[in-house]
């Protein structure tokens, strides 16, 4: 009893700390599991895209890294300072970088094609605004910066008003 009263309080905090650390570790492990599942799903998405479009992505092609004025642009050679191979970009491994790089290149090519349809171009044909692309079940879906986000209003901002009986 004396031992408990003398040491009980001093022993409890380390238990709490252990439990807290364990919870943190569990959270981190679950987060990693989610990310792993997500990356596997992205691999599948990438495989589907490449089956349909083929890929011109070359992991050995040099690319200007983020932070440079022309960051993200493909470079003809790697002699410029800061230029790195596409496959060596951040993302946690060359496989991940390969998939992201290939999806990025495919997406940017599709966005470029979409822009050619006079969407989001000024009078002189220069690109303006932003275009986003995603793909679900073989359907290409584009998003644009807009002054009338009607679908957003319908789904997110006022779902109840729109979900009434038809």
């Amino acid at each position: 009893m004396l031992f408990a009263s003398a040491f009980g309080r001093s022993l409890r905090p380390p238990d709490d700390v252990d439990e807290s650390a364990r919870s943190q570790a569990d959270l981190e492990a679950s987060r990693r599991a989610v990310m792993l599942a997500h990356r596997l799903a992205l691999l599948d998405i990438g495989a589907q895209h490449f089956r349909r479009y083929g890929s011109h992505y070359n992991p050995n092609q040099p690319r200007v890294p983020a932070g440079h004025p022309d960051g993200g642009q493909w470079a003809r050679d790697g002699s410029r300072a800061g230029v790195q191979l596409a496959a060596g970009e951040k993302g946690g491994g060359s496989g991940w970088a390969f998939i992201i790089g290939a999806l990025l290149k495919l997406g940017l090519e599709l966005i470029k094609e979409k822009r050619k349809g006079k969407i989001l171009q000024d009078l002189f044909g220069s690109d303006e605004g932003t275009v986003a692309w995603t793909r679900i079940d073989d359907n290409d879906i584009f998003g644009y910066n807009s002054d009338r986000p009607n679908i957003l209003r319908k789904i997110v901002l006022m779902p109840r008003r729109c979900a009434g009986p038809s």
């Binding site: 990310m35 997500h38 990025l104 966005i111 679908i151 997110v156």
Partner: protein, 92 residues
């Protein structure tokens, strides 16, 4: 938007961060959800954007994700930077 007091207090839709509701990376998600009955629950998406993501989108997008069924979405901007969101927050 009443569910998210951190953005509900800003009255004008054109002000930061609500201006993100007009940005391409935000409009593409409800557009996709609309095509699939209003929900992307359980899906994994990869979104490519030809500009860099702004701060407003960083704040708004996770909330929009929750409203369309909480899909796991990775955004890649034209520089190759990737960010993944789920459960109303950024995982990476």
């Amino acid at each position: 938007m009443r569910k998210y007091p951190e953005i509900a207090g800003i009255a004008n839709l054109g002000h930061i961060p609500k201006n993100a509701f007009f940005h391409a990376e935000t409009t593409v998600l409800p557009r996709a959800a609309h095509d699939y009955g209003g929900s992307l629950a359980g899906r994994t998406l990869h979104v490519v954007v030809d500009r860099v993501m702004c701060r407003s989108c960083e704040r708004i997008l996770p909330k929009v994700g929750l409203e369309i069924g909480n899909p796991t979405v990775t955004f890649t901007d034209y520089t190759g930077r990737t960010r993944t969101m789920r459960d109303g927050q950024w995982l990476q």
